[in-house]
């Protein structure tokens, strides 16, 4: 099907290498951040989240880093696999009560075998 990431910036990595996807967020008052993975023809899938009182959080093969000073978020994927190929979005929560999310522009990750 049609890719959702036709016009998004692309990161191309070799299988087995580590990937770093970056995101700049807009609101210094945001207190909750999420990384999503979106494969073609599917809705966004939760990967990992982090609250503003932390600067690092690790999951399985993924790490999120938060730098509140420069309003920057990154997603690190260790030992990137072909199944990691997708579009990745960061999102910030501007509303504690309702989880209304503001999404970043997205990055398309392509993993070369």
């Amino acid at each position: 099907g049609e890719s959702v990431g036709l016009h998004l910036p692309t990161l191309s990595v070799q299988e087995g290498d580590n990937s770093i996807i970056n995101c700049a967020y807009s609101n210094s008052a945001s207190d909750y951040f999420i990384w999503y993975k979106q494969e073609s023809g599917k809705g966004p899938q939760f990967i990992i989240d982090i609250r503003s009182n932390m600067d690092k959080r690790q999951g399985q093969r993924v790490t999120v880093l938060l730098n509140k000073t420069v309003k920057h978020l990154s997603l690190q994927i260790a030992a990137t696999q072909p199944g990691d190929s997708a579009v990745y979005f960061c999102a910030e929560n501007l509303n504690n009560a309702g989880n209304m999310l503001t999404f970043g522009g997205g990055t398309r990750l392509m993993v070369k075998p």
């Binding site: 099907g1 049609e2 959702v4 990431g5 036709l6 016009h7 998004l8 909750y32 999420i34 999503y36 023809g41 599917k42 809705g43 966004p44 899938q45 939760f46 989240d49 979005f89 999102a91 929560n93 504690n96 009560a97 309702g98 989880n99 209304m100 999310l101 503001t102 999404f103 970043g104 522009g105 997205g106």
Partner: protein, 114 residues
């Protein structure tokens, strides 16, 4: 986690017509959200739908164009009215997780207006 089903998964519609998209959740949720994802772009929130009250629309989206229903705590619909080719997008339904944190998404409805 919540399981969200959207119908239809895709449709091709004539300009000037309307399409209603359904979103069914497998558990009761207070808030449901509708997003639009234009080709090659990120997600933009259209509106927040609460059961028993009118939806709250984001800037640039109006009720006449995107009427929303929320008849109960597990279901919502979004109608795209008087469609034009510029409405061709993926429309996504989402709900908050426990404690109002992470959001779960449906698979989306891919709409093409010709």
């Amino acid at each position: 986690s919540a399981v969200i089903s959207q119908k239809p998964s895709r449709d091709i519609c004539q300009r000037g017509t309307s399409l209603t998209i359904q979103c069914q959740v497998d558990s009761q949720v207070t808030m449901m959200f509708w997003y639009r994802q234009q080709p090659g772009q990120s997600l933009t929130l259209i509106a927040t739908a609460n059961q028993g009250s009118e939806a709250t629309y984001e800037s640039g989206f109006v009720i006449d164009k995107f009427p929303i229903s929320r008849p109960n705590l597990t279901f919502s619909t979004l109608t795209v009215s008087n469609m034009s080719p510029e409405d061709s997008s993926i429309y996504l339904c989402s709900v908050s997780g426990t404690g109002g944190t992470e959001a779960f998404f449906g698979q989306g409805t891919r709409l093409t207006v010709v």
